[in-house]
Amino acid sequence: MEELIKLKEIKKYFPWKKQKYVKAVDGVSLSVNKRDIFGLVGESGSGKTTLGRVILRLIEPTSGSIFYHGEEIDKIKKIDKNLRKKMQIVFQDPYSSLHPRKKIKDIIGSGLRTHHMVKNKGEMIEKIENFLNLVGMGKEHLYRYPHELSGGQRQRIAIARALILNPEFVVLDEPTSSLDVSVQAEILNLLKKLREELNLTYIFITHDLFLTRIITEKIAIMYLGKIMEYGDTQRIFKNPLHPYTRALFSVIPRLDAKMRSKKIILKGEIPSPVNPPQGCRFHTRCIKKIGDICENVSPPLKEIEDNHFVACHLYD
């Protein structure tokens, strides 16, 4: 499996008021192979959304390295257009990710023009029609405005817009969180189909754990800017090791009473990323806290079983 993207100690600090920083991403390392569906999972403040954008260099990392096909790309001053084509993104909210006053054909065609991918208007229309077809929509939508379409349809347009550039990988930022459940199923199945047809790699950002289990193959569970647990999805679900992961799994609502275990209700709130706890980020809410070491030393990611890493002193 060829390694497509590698992140080494990526940090993103946003300046906030005087002398303080929002430590959105605080030292993340991971690697994504070609054709992976890699999940970035976490609650609010986990940094998953920021990380998604840093990978694309829509937001520049404060420190750390990004490797793409083995080459370091974070040091290039301005990201070059050709690289932009290879990495695309689909945003969470289909109601704000499409320009309200542009027609669908111009929304999808924007990238084609920028990268000179078509020679004339006729070719452009043809290509756009093909991609509309690919995402399950008819060419009658070419001349419509976003407000005439439903949420699910808009998200399909957003997908077409990203894929028409023929990217290698796509960051999917909670692509179905704003949609109705029945529409969610359609869009996710579409994304799976397109991955096969177009040989894509996905970085799938979400907070929905059961969705993660269905869609992703590898995941990184994030909390306050750091990865708590990382590895093969099915392994992690079968055998969650990190206390945070365990707590999270115990509280997600389930349909079947028999499948519910005792809930580990975490006390308190998620701490502010401006002042994250020292040492292990999770120690302030952890019921399995060992002691001083958790308060002072940030645990590194350790491989506990094949393709299953945890950052927790319990496993030192």
């Binding site: 694309l56 829509l58 257009k81 932009r84 084509k85 695309q88 993104i89 945003f91 909210d93 109601y95 704000s96 990710s97 499409l98 320009h99 309200p100 006053r101 542009k102 027609k103 924007s110 990238g111 920028t114 990268h115 070419l142 001349y143 419509r144 405005y145 407000h147 005439e148 957003a158 817009r161 990203a162 550039l165």
Partner: protein, 302 residues
């Protein structure tokens, strides 16, 4: 055969623009629903028609003096009376509509592009460009508008052209500020981030994506400002800085007619009404456009 081809072309044109067509239909529906907007629209349409067709509507020539018929009260021949030089007041008001409209349009023709350009740049790029542009705007805005206009007008020389330049210079900061404010909020929206992700250049983002969204706020403001422009122009004419005689300018008519207010009330009063109705019409229209542009009112916008 030719008829078929043109029919097909019309149908395909209709299909491609069906969204715009229904948008326009909805706008017209909303306009019709608001009586005040209709009144404003009517008044302005009257103004425009009067201005364009003045030579055909006006009963008399606006500048010809008839010294034997000076200060005549309203009569069959002169529906609004004559002024101190025997000129027909109605005809002067009719031609004055064109003058008023010209002033408003030229001021906006300078201010809107200038303000939008500076506002977009300041808002999008921020940093020192923003600081410089906004400080310059602050300087202009520190003075009361009429005073500043008067100072510039006096410095440039009292005529209509210089009045328009002077007024334009006092008003551009408003549009720059407005455009900057819109840009600041629009540039954070997801579809702009999407364009950056696609590799679109900053210039294209500004012009094709941000600019079209600033229009409605700016047009509303411009419409509401029309009344202000006329007021200031009238004020400048009143003080002798604006239009010069014998131009049929409403402000000038009030100014030269003010001595006659007591005994020949019709001389300054009718031009005053003309200004009143014009300002009123633009205010109603501007309010109406603002309400109609409100996306919450329109169907389909979530």
């Amino acid at each position: 055969m030719n008829k078929d081809i043109s029919q097909n072309w019309i149908t395909s044109l209709k299909n491609r623009h069906s969204s715009e067509i229904s948008d326009i239909k909805e706008t017209l529906y909303l306009i019709k629903k608001s009586p005040l907007t209709m009144i404003g629209l009517t008044l302005i349409l009257i103004l425009v028609i009067v201005a364009i067709f003045a030579p055909y509507i006006a009963p008399h020539d606006p500048v010809t003096m008839h010294l034997d018929k000076r200060l005549a009260p309203p009569s069959k021949d002169h529906l609004l009376g004559t002024d101190e030089l025997g000129r027909d007041i109605l005809s002067r008001i009719i031609y004055g509509a064109g003058v008023a409209l010209k002033i408003m349009l030229i001021v906006l023709a300078i201010d809107l592009p200038l303000g939008i350009l500076l506002g977009l740049i300041a808002g999008y790029f921020g940093g020192w460009i923003d600081e410089i542009i906004m400080r310059i705007a602050d300087i202009f805005m520190a003075f009361p508008r009429l005073i500043l206009a008067m100072a510039i007008g006096a410095a440039l020389g009292p005529n209509l052209r210089n009045t328009m330049i002077a007024i334009a210079l006092t008003m551009w900061p408003i549009y720059a500020r407005l455009a900057r404010g819109e840009t600041l909020s629009i540039k954070e929206r997801t579809f702009i981030e999407a364009e950056r992700a696609l590799g679109t250049s900053n210039l294209k983002i500004l012009i094709s994506n941000i600019l079209p969204l600033c229009f409605s706020t700016l047009i509303v403001r411009a419409t509401l400002d029309m009344g202000n422009i006329i007021r200031i122009a009238a004020g400048m004419s009143f003080l002798g800085l604006g239009a010069q005689p014998p131009t049929p300018d409403w402000g000038l008519m009030i100014s030269s007619g003010r001595n006659f207010l007591i005994n020949q009330w019709w001389i300054p009063t009718f031009p005053g009404f003309a200004i009143l109705l014009t300002v009123f019409g633009f205010n109603l229209l501007g309010d109406g456009i603002r309400d109609i542009s409100d996306p919450h009112l329109r169907r389909g916008k979530k």
